[in-house]
């Protein structure tokens, strides 16, 4: 120790000390910065989950239960996944305004962040279908013709061959797809909202879903060269229109021809 004490005033010591101090600060900083993002994300996640839980308890728990376990009036949400929450809430279907055969689409009460928070909360309860990524929703290279075949096999029975929607049993209906976004279509196939069956990635892979979306998007953009589309259900609607509408005009003309002039 004596030898050390004797040399502490040596100019080299100062340099050495500075080097050690710099190393220490740099090391601590490096450790701190590498740990911080993970912690920050975890905190952000936890914040979103807490916020989502708050919104859930306010808006959803009266039907789905305080722990999302489900009640007599609403199914359990454990395991439905973030995709289901996003679909139901961002289209205004949930929360329902009143019990009924089917939740109708209505103006949305929540911001995008609110929806994401609730989705995060429900997803934190149990694993379920996640919100599709931008890559999954990219249908630009998809085969529209193949999508048409798959749509007619899997979707047209309820949503009608041109996506106009149709009636189901006891007041329920399959909605029109003419204003649906790619994300809504994808999430609906993935989660099976309300009475729609689930078309999982195992039976309808991502490329097939993209093809179906491309087909629906093509239908949405398709014009109706003749004017009124009449639901695009073909000769039945057109015939009904002629019989019910145009024949009334013809009868009017026939009456005018037959009436005696005064």
């Amino acid at each position: 120790m004596k030898a050390l004490a004797a040399r502490r005033r040596n100019p080299i010591v100062a340099t050495l000390l500075l080097f050690v101090a710099l190393l220490g600060v740099g090391g601590v900083y490096a450790v701190a910065t590498s740990a911080a993002p993970a912690e920050a994300v975890a905190t952000a996640d936890q914040t979103a989950i807490d916020e989502g839980k708050r919104l859930y308890l306010e808006g959803c728990s009266s039907c789905h239960g305080l722990n999302a376990q489900g009640t007599a009036t609403g199914p359990t949400l454990i395991g439905v996944g973030a995709a289901s929450v996003h679909f139901q809430v961002s289209t205004g279907r949930m929360p329902m305004a009143a019990p009924g055969a089917q939740a109708p689409v209505k103006p949305v009460d929540y911001s995008e962040a609110d929806v994401a928070a609730m989705a995060a909360y429900i997803a934190s309860l149990a694993p379920g279908p996640a919100i599709p990524t931008a890559e999954q929703l990219d249908y630009t290279d998809a085969d529209i013709a193949e999508g048409g075949v798959l749509f007619r096999i899997n979707c047209a029975q309820c949503h009608q061959a041109a996506g106009g929607g149709g009636a189901l049993t006891q007041g329920k209906h399959a909605p029109s797809l003419m204003s649906s976004s790619a994300q809504e279509i994808y999430e609906a196939m993935l989660t099976g909202p309300q009475n729609m069956p689930v078309f999982a990635d195992t039976t309808l892979p991502v490329e097939d879903k993209q093809a179906i979306i491309a087909y629906i998007k093509d239908l949405q953009e398709a014009e109706s060269p003749g004017g009124i589309a009449l639901g695009r259900i073909g000769p039945v609607a057109e015939g009904l229109f002629l019989w019910a509408g145009v024949i009334a005009v013809f009868i009017g003309i026939a009456v005018w021809i037959g009436i005696k002039a005064r």
Binding site: V149, Q157, C158, L168, T169, Q194, N195, P197, P225
Partner: protein, 369 residues
């Protein structure tokens, strides 16, 4: 405008051609109609039109008719202008009709209105300005006169004699033979209806309607993409339209879609405790049920499956089947439950049929009882 009254000549009252009673003697504008086969009707009260009495009204009617014809001319000119001036690719928004081709719209509108104006002008002309008189048109009796009857009979007798039908015996007999055999081809075409049961005439229609491509061990593939399925591929609440694995081979061999039409099925998966009844013990595989896709009413393909109610709805006539309750009919005109296909997995873990359909799929038919 003339009013034509028809009646049997037998009941026509004899009142001659004079001015009928009950008309206004001041009606000087009334024209007389003296056409053939028509008699002024005495018992229909005549009321003169305003254009018959008032020359001003008559001139107004004249102007109206002319205006309609001028409008027609204008429309035809506009048609030509529209054809030349408007590009076939221009679109225009028309209320009610929506966004439509401007040229098509103008061409249809002008041509239609032009033709309508000619017709309306002609009708207006006839109603307001042409002679206005009630007439009776006589209708001759429907029965032929005795003279016509006699002539027809006479021609028949003469034809019989001249053809020599009674005279040439061999011609008569061969003609009768030809006529007797004429129905044979028609009956042979219907031979399917009584095919012998031993199969010597090929499969009977009953057999054709009662069998499908599903046999024991036949793997299930998705419709459209023809991929074999594992039970874990189908989530609870899932729906898959499916076919037997060899469907494309059969289709290419038979050159028709009959096999596909009969073998189409849907697979649905529910929680095993949700299944209240099945058509056979253990015909599901861990809650996966396979049912025919063909409605038992008139054979529409149906896949409108509601995964919460487990109802399968036919869009054609609203027959509803409960897939959680052995496919029984819960609503609609279908008289039979939806046939169930027993399924299991093979040693490779793929879903397969455990047996063929136990009952014919699709609509009822006579011999099914």
């Amino acid at each position: 405008m003339s009013e034509i009254t028809t009646r049997d000549s037998g009941s026509l009252p004899d009142h001659g051609h004079g001015a009928p009673e009950g008309t206004n003697p001041d009606d000087l504008a009334r024209p007389l109609y003296e056409g053939p086969g028509a008699l002024p009707a005495a018992d229909i009260p005549h009321r003169p039109r305003r254009s018959d009495i008032d020359p001003k009204a008559a001139r107004r009617a004249e102007r109206q008719v002319a205006a309609l014809f001028v409008l027609a001319m204008l429309m035809f000119i506009l048609f030509v202008v529209g054809y030349i001036a408007i590009s076939p690719f221009t679109e225009v928004y028309v209320p009610v009709f929506g966004l439509i081709g401007a040229q098509n719209f103008v061409l249809g509108l002008t041509l239609g209105l032009g033709i309508f104006c000619i017709g309306a002008g002609a009708i207006q002309w006839a109603k307001k300005l042409m002679p206005d008189v009630e007439v009776v048109q006589e209708r001759h009796p429907l029965r032929s006169t005795p003279h016509e009857d006699a002539e027809a009979l006479d021609q028949y007798e003469r034809g019989k004699e001249e053809s020599g039908f009674g005279q040439y015996r061999i011609i008569r007999r061969t003609l009768i033979g030809a006529m007797a055999l004429l129905p044979i081809p028609l009956i042979v075409l219907l031979r399917d209806l009584w095919s012998p049961k031993d199969g010597s005439f090929g499969p009977s229609p009953v057999e054709l309607l009662s069998t499908t491509a599903w046999v024991e061990g036949m793997p299930v593939v998705t419709d459209g993409t023809y991929v074999k399925l594992r039970p874990e591929d189908i989530p609870v609440g899932g729906l898959v339209s499916a076919l037997p694995e060899n469907i494309m081979e059969i289709q290419e061999a038979e050159h028709n879609l009959n096999a596909r039409g009969k073998a189409a099925i849907i697979l649905v998966r529910m929680e095993p405790d949700e299944i209240r009844a099945q058509q056979g013990d253990g015909w599901d595989y861990q809650g996966i049920l396979a049912y025919s896709k063909i409605c038992t009413h008139v054979g529409c393909p149906i896949a409108l499956y509601e995964h919460r109610t487990h109802h399968l709805l036919c869009p054609c006539h609203q027959s509803t089947f409960d897939l959680a309750d052995a496919g029984n009919v819960v609503f609609g005109p279908a008289a039979r439950r939806m046939p169930q296909l027993p399924i299991g997995v093979n040693e490779e873990g793929f879903l397969v049929a455990k047996a063929p359909f136990a009952e014919p799929v699709g609509p009822s038919f006579w011999e099914r009882g």
